[in-house]
Amino acid sequence: MANGTPLKLGWLYPTLMSTYGDRGNLTCLQRRAEWRGIAVEVVALDRDSPAEAFAQVDVIVGGGAQDRQQELVMRDLQGEKGAGLKAALDGGTPGVFTCGSPQLLGHYYEPGVGQRIDGLGVLDLVSVHPGPDADRCIGNMVLKITASRLAADLQKMLGRVPYVIGFENHGGRTKLQTAEPFAQVIKGYGNNGEDGTEGAFQGNAIATYSHGPLLPKNPFLADWMLKKALERQRQEEVNLSPLDDAWADQGRVMMLNRLGVQESA
């Protein structure tokens, strides 16, 4: 059924970084490809993987980690592995990074307890946890995509740019420096609860606090990533066949109604 060179889906540290159902993003990409007859291969990028593997995937998925696990990941990413990952992202490999993983793509993360952890510096942002007793940012969220290139692509694919729904649960607060925000917060806290921005968008990578997980709830983002990855692989325009997303749509409508959000055209 499936044909062509398999699309390699790289999964960052499957056991260390999978806190809030984050593997749902990977499952979503995998199934949406398989359902369309596109061959995929899941590649775990972890402590036992060779450094080359990090640069040789078509899509990268990263999830959240507890503080201690995050430290282990950062230690492992020092050197060649980190450089490979950075090269892949700088080169335009599509990626989705939720929860804790945007923090490690920034310049540094200061945990609630313990030492500052240096990040990869792929994204121009910093994250600070205000301390173990500070309130966490928790709840359902609604986002309006503002990243200009992503919004333009979605407009072309769908004829509109739908709101993104999700759930956030983070202690750390992120401040963007020159990084472009992924979205504007319609409901929720976002990067820091203050400036109304959420996540970051760079190259073809989406970084966001929105888990839930992100992609099954917002399948248009999954399809955008698959399309990007296939086009990079095949060097030609790719149009994905449509899938039945009625349940995802109904779930979105239900959540927007519940939060009293009117989706503007």
Binding site: F167, P213, G251
Partner: protein, 449 residues
């Protein structure tokens, strides 16, 4: 003396409030009296808790608190102790106070032997200094309702800080849980008294899981961060492990699990059984009594409850986190493996406070086997589409496997699920906590229960 008078007054007022709440039909008054009493006598919890001649047992952990407490209660009662137990599941500070108040006389005197109090993970550190338990029983620490509690590591650290200063407490810990085992080993060093740190756990390699499930929390050494080597896993991250780097290993359990029978079904309940038995032994309960209590035990409300609805057998299996859900789904798939129509299941997913407001955990549960089986799965609850998507994404092609039917109206969903059960088969209802209450209400409202 003034303390005593004020406690008496607190009790009078709390009793009046209880009577009012009940007579106005406002509820079971499981929390409010505690809140009122603590206003009048802030020391109420301390003054009540210290009256138990045999002391207080605090029961903490993500899964199994109620089942274990009920079993421990039977063991104590079979031994001849009179017992206070916060059976309503109100396990925050006011609920605990209310539970003790209910067994006090008008002068604030309690003449029961022992109290068993289930305690919410995050409240434990607050009540430890007030209650000063004789035993703290810690069952496990799973990823559950993280939105309320923060991270597993943080919880363990807070527990350790709160228990360490208590000079007469004993801890009974799940030695198969690396975080709790490390917790105990730290206390052994700090207290320099091995008798005060006891463990329970499994010692039955023939019951290892074939592979480590996805929903595992801490398979890294809590001491040095290296990946733990597991000789085998019993469930989730509970198993026989050792750290290749610093030598940290599982603590030796007090009882040899292979020699002990268990209550109900499933490895979960083996742990619960051992936890209760190890604790009861510390109070001098004889082994023959313990075994008798285990034999006679009946399931608690909502947990593996069995009913008959319009002639169809129904099992309600409370399900609130990935680990518990995996165990539940595994049991359902096994029980209906050889049936031509597969299993008929009603899953009800709510996201209210008692359920945890974050439903993303369903993606950490291993739903593939059930979704790919031949059965019918009706889905309902506040977040039915989240669950419907989770199940669909478990299938190699949408529709290849179980029939998935989302139905927002719970009443309708129950009707449809009942109608889908082939003759002679069982309906499995898998609800979150608040959903379980709703399901029961509907079944009762129809006069079915």
């Amino acid at each position: 003396m003034v303390d005593r008078i004020r406690l008496g007054l607190a009790i009078w007022v709390a009793r009046v409030v209880t009577a009012l709440v009940r007579s106005l039909g406002l509820g079971a008054a499981s929390v409010l009296p505690g809140s009122v009493a603590r206003r009048i006598q802030p020391q109420a919890l301390r003054l009540l808790a210290r009256q138990y001649g045999q002391g207080v047992v605090l029961v903490a952990g993500t899964n199994g608190k109620t089942t274990t407490s009920l079993l421990l209660r039977s063991m104590f009662e079979d031994h001849g102790f009179s017992v206070t137990h916060n059976a309503t599941g109100a396990n925050l500070v006011n609920g605990l106070t209310a539970a003790l108040l209910a067994d006090a006389n008008w002068w604030g005197r309690i003449d029961r032997d022992v109290a068993i109090l289930e305690v919410d993970e995050n409240v434990l550190r607050l009540v430890l200094p007030e209650i000063r338990p004789r035993v703290l029983l810690a069952l496990n620490l799973f990823r559950d309702q993280l939105d309320r509690y923060g991270e597993v590591d943080t919880i363990a650290r807070r527990w350790r800080e709160a228990i360490a200063p208590l000079e007469n407490a004993t801890v009974v810990l799940n030695g198969d849980d690396p975080t709790l085992s490390e917790f105990g080993q730290q206390l052994e060093k700090q207290w320099e008294d091995l008798a005060r740190v006891q463990y329970f756990g499994l010692n039955e390699p023939d019951r290892y899981l074939e592979e480590i499930p996805h929903a595992v929390d801490s398979i890294y050494c809590p001491r040095c961060g290296t990946s733990l080597n597991y000789r085998g896993v019993y469930l989730s991250h509970l198993g026989d492990y050792q750290c290749p780097s610093c030598g940290f290993a599982k603590s030796k359990p007090r009882l040899n699990s292979a020699d002990w029978p268990q209550i109900l079904i499933g490895l979960y309940n083996k742990y619960n059984t051992l936890a209760a038995a190890a604790t009861a032994q510390l109070f001098g309960v004889e082994e023959t009594t313990l075994r008798g209590s285990i034999r006679e035990f009946k399931a608690a409300f909502g947990r593996a409850e069995e009913l008959t609805v319009e002639g169809t057998p129904v099992r309600i299996l409370l399900s609130k986190n990935p680990v518990g859900t995996n165990e539940t789904l595994r049991a359902i798939v096994e029980l209906s493996q050889d049936r031509p129509h597969g299993a008929t299941v009603l899953v009800v997913l709510n996201d209210r406070i008692p359920d945890g407001t974050d439903v993303s955990w369903i993606w950490d549960a291993d739903t593939e086997k059930l979704a790919q089986s031949a059965g019918t799965i009706v889905v309902s609850g506040d977040r039915l589409y989240d669950m419907a998507l989770r199940l669909t994404y478990s299938q190699p092609q949408p529709g290849a496997g179980a029939r998935i039917i989302p139905e927002a109206d719970l009443d309708q969903a129950i009707k449809q699920a009942l109608a889908a059960v082939p003759a002679g088969e069982t309906l499995y209802i898998v609800p979150t906590y608040s959903a379980m209450l709703e399901v029961r209400q509907i079944l009762t409202g129809r006069g079915i229960l």
